[in-house]
């Protein structure tokens, strides 16, 4: 069959292209352009607000990979991810299983309660949590002291050993509701017939969940893990409001590191947007790599 020339194909599909055009322009303006510019800026020695910007090739990247604080922040970001995502996934699943039970009359109420932190502004949560975990009459310490669990107040956010676990705990609490909703959506795709058939075949309790329900919702689990993992690598507002990366870098994740070098120099010298962009690009590629790996895993799971 004679194939139409490309121009003719485009002309025939002109309405499709026209409708795609607005989205393409917006994507170009707000996604492609900033990504491209950050790649370009990462090759410059530039403070970000003077005309003077010197092309220095990959020197910023070289400096970043040789900076121990960069790697500390890099690793800390993954510690944060590996410390929060499994907890959220497992807890969210357990809660969803319970709240998916139609017999439980108060399920909508509990769903709402667990979901409420999700819709609360994260900066507000961050600030309020600094008071909750304050060693000076903070409710967390008051509880621990009144129950004799500790004899002296714990400086949750000021102690390098406790700061990251505390922020991770707040993060899990804040976003648990959305994980629960993902799982509920997944569980609700399982037809009632499957439950009925399983019961007839004698599969109940954990056997029902392990052998019947879990394989059905597994593809959803991959998507949920992917979304949660990327989410756990984007925790700037919570950490900035709770600790700003301190004390002495103990809670400095990559986003805080990038922010610190790009904008905020408490020590009173010029910021380094070029360097921050290099760190950001490096970080972006790392996140992309993880996303691709998870995507491949998802495809493989679907084939199974």
């Amino acid at each position: 069959m004679h194939k139409k020339p490309l121009s003719k194909q485009i002309y025939d599909a002109r309405w499709c292209y026209l409708f795609v055009l607005p989205c393409s322009i917006l994507t170009g303006m707000f996604v492609i352009y900033p990504i491209g510019m950050s790649w370009y800026f990462s090759l410059l020695d530039w403070s970000g607000f003077t005309k003077e910007a010197k092309f220095i090739g990959l020197q910023n990247y070289y400096e970043a990979v040789n900076d121990e604080f960069f790697w500390d922040a890099f690793i800390r970001s993954f510690i944060f991810m590996f410390g929060t995502v499994p907890v959220k996934i497992v807890l969210g699943f357990i809660i969803a299983v319970f709240l998916n039970n139609q017999v439980l009359k108060l399920a909508p109420f509990f769903r709402t309660v667990i979901f409420m932190p999700v819709v609360t502004a994260i900066a507000i949560i961050g600030i309020v949590m600094t008071f909750v975990f304050s060693p000076f009459n903070g409710p967390a310490n008051k509880f621990l002291m009144s129950t004799n669990l500790t004899s002296a107040p714990i400086d949750f956010l000021g102690n390098p050993d406790t700061v990251l676990p505390t922020v991770m705990g707040v993060y899990v609490w804040k976003w648990l509701g959305i994980t629960m909703m993902y799982w509920l959506a997944a569980l609700q795709t399982v037809p009632q017939d499957v439950y009925d058939a399983a019961k007839i075949d004698g599969a109940e309790g954990y056997r029902l969940w392990i052998h019947i329900i879990l394989p059905i919702v597994l593809p959803f689990a991959i998507v949920i893990i992917l979304v949660e993992a990327v989410g756990a690598l984007n925790v700037f507002p919570l950490i900035e409001t709770m600790t700003a990366g301190g004390p002495f870098f103990s809670s400095e994740v990559m986003e805080i590191y990038i922010f610190r070098t790009a904008f905020v120099t408490d020590s009173g010298t010029m910021p380094r947007l070029g360097y921050a962009c290099a760190a950001g690009v490096f970080w972006g590629v790392a996140v992309l790599f993880i996303t691709v790996l998870q995507g491949l895993w998802m495809r493989r799971t679907r084939r199974i």
Binding site: G158, A244, F248
Partner: protein
């Protein structure tokens, strides 16, 4: 078993205090009680445009905000314009102003981010000179003390680009204390400068007397600059003569041009902070509070001592008028005489006029008024010692009393003008623009030592000192590569007598 008593200060009260302090810092919305409302704003020296308009103004707030919030409405009404004021912490200024400059939306009048070389602002065309907007500017400048307006600092190409209404003769680490707790501990800081041992002992006794309800000492430990400020100033008092200001001045001994971070005096100051912690005299949770939060806890009886600036006076005067506190000079190491502190020439709180501003006539008229003796008196009466008015006659006439007057007297006694490399060689400004504080900075090193994440005071300070030396060398090298005529010798002032002011004649001797 006897149950430990709960602290009497409620969390709600702490939040309230911190919020009030924050509001003071950011917006200055708390009305002043120091003067009774109305300003006598003189007519402009020449007719102003009748088209009106909105003038936008941004600065670092604090007590300045308190003053502007009172003055701006009256001034705006008298000139038929509106004024939009944003008083924000430095951290925000450092973020907002550069972005606004880049976008062409910066305020009409603004402060440059910390560390920004004014020469860069001029050469980049972000600012315009005040000369066209301040009537009889030469006469007006002549009323300021010498050393406030200087080429390379706020004057460029024979024009005045930056205006200063306040002096930089102050410290941010005075000993502020609860009179009651200090007296119960058996100390009177007014009797003479306290030594490190006395501070430590007083802190121990206050903590003991507090029995878990209050502690000897408090600091806003998650605001890292507080650590550096304390060690820097205490080091100076101990005899580590060094400059103040940005990276190219701070911690540098101008007798040899070298950083003083690894000096014995700095080490002693760090050790004092660590001892206050190891003695159990530090308020629990200092690492998770900033300076305004720590300051807000003082009048609530949470701690006996804090090393802070005179800006506390205004805040406490409004939040806790009945609380009895005292202010005294920084402590001195045992067995030593207190040494002078140094400031660089020039004023503080420099205001710049945006190159895009069409409100220059009004901004110039307002700045001119504030530079007059009457304007300076108004300023001094409200702001007091927090940001001292630059005109000493006006300060004298403002009739300040109490801690404000005492703080100003202390500053006059303890602070001298030291050398300033940029006054000697304007190309030092290029170095300032190239310089980067190395990671971890001194502030963070001290914080790390305090939390125990870093070990060994001497080794850490020596490493830090070397990092600072290397960073300055690198900045000088980069500036030279860009054509700047500058060497590390520009930081060496062999004729610096540390017991006298370093004035224009000294620069000429070099």
């Amino acid at each position: 078993m006897k149950k430990k008593k709960d602290l009497k200060i409620s969390r709600r009260t702490v939040m309230k205090g911190a919020l009030a302090a924050g509001a003071m810092m950011s917006a200055g919305s708390i009305p002043s009680k120091l003067f009774a409302g109305e300003f006598n704003i003189p007519d402009p020296l020449k007719p102003l445009p009748t088209t009106g308009g909105n003038m936008r103004w941004i600065d670092s707030g604090d007590m300045k905000g308190v003053f502007w919030k009172k003055l701006f409405p009256e001034y705006a009404a008298s000139r038929g314009i509106t004024i939009e004021y944003d008083g924000l912490p430095w951290k925000e200024i450092n973020k907002i102003v550069p972005i606004a400059i880049r976008n062409g939306t910066v305020h009409d009048v603004f402060q440059l981010p910390i560390g920004m070389d004014p020469g860069v602002a001029v050469s980049e065309g972000w600012v315009q000179p005040w000369d066209d907007y301040i009537e009889n500017i030469d006469e007006w400048l002549g009323a300021f003390p010498s050393g406030v307006y200087l080429p390379g600092v706020n004057q460029f190409n024979g024009k005045t680009y930056g205006t200063c209404l306040t002096a930089n003769k102050r410290t941010g680490t005075c000993l502020l204390y609860s009179e009651k707790y200090m007296s119960e501990a058996g100390y009177d800081p007014q009797a003479g400068r306290m030594t490190y041992s006395e501070i430590r002992d007083a802190a121990k006794k206050i903590t003991k007397n507090g029995n878990g309800q209050y502690y000897g000492w408090i600091i806003g430990g998650n605001q890292v600059n507080r650590w550096e400020d304390v060690v820097h100033t205490f080091g100076q008092v101990g005899g580590a003569h060094s400059g103040r200001g940005g990276f190219t001045n701070r911690h540098i001994n101008f007798q040899n041009g070298k950083f003083q971070i690894a000096s014995d005096q700095y080490m002693e100051a760090v050790e004092l902070l660590l001892q206050l912690k190891s003695d159990g005299s530090a308020f629990p949770g200092v690492m998770s509070m900033n300076a305004p939060q720590a300051r807000a806890l003082m009048p609530q009886g949470a701690a006996g001592m804090i090393f802070q600036g005179p800006w506390c006076i205004g805040v406490w005067g409004r939040d806790a008028p009945n609380w009895k506190y005292g202010i005294a000079s920084e402590p001195v190491p045992d067995g030593k005489e207190a040494q002078p502190l140094y400031i660089a020439e020039g004023g503080s709180n420099t205001f710049w006029l945006s190159a895009n501003s069409t409100m220059g006539p009004f901004a110039g008229d307002l700045i001119r008024f504030m530079g007059t003796e009457q304007g300076q008196i108004y300023w001094a009466q409200t702001v007091g010692a927090a940001d001292p008015a630059v005109n000493p006659d006006a300060v004298a006439k403002a009739g300040l009393t109490g801690p404000s007057a005492q703080a100003l007297s202390m500053f006059a006694e303890n602070i001298l003008v030291g050398p300033n490399p940029i006054v000697r060689n304007k190309d030092v400004g290029i170095v300032a623009a190239k310089s980067r504080v190395p990671d971890p900075s001194l502030a963070l090193v001290i914080q790390g030592l305090y939390t125990g994440q870093l070990k060994g005071v001497e080794a850490q300070l020596k490493d830090c000192n070397q990092r600072y030396e290397d960073a300055l060398d690198k900045a000088v090298e980069e500036a030279r590569a860009d054509g700047a005529n500058v060497t590390r010798d520009d930081w060496v002032f062999p004729n610096w007598d540390v017991y006298s002011n370093y004035g224009a004649e000294k620069y000429q001797e070099l």
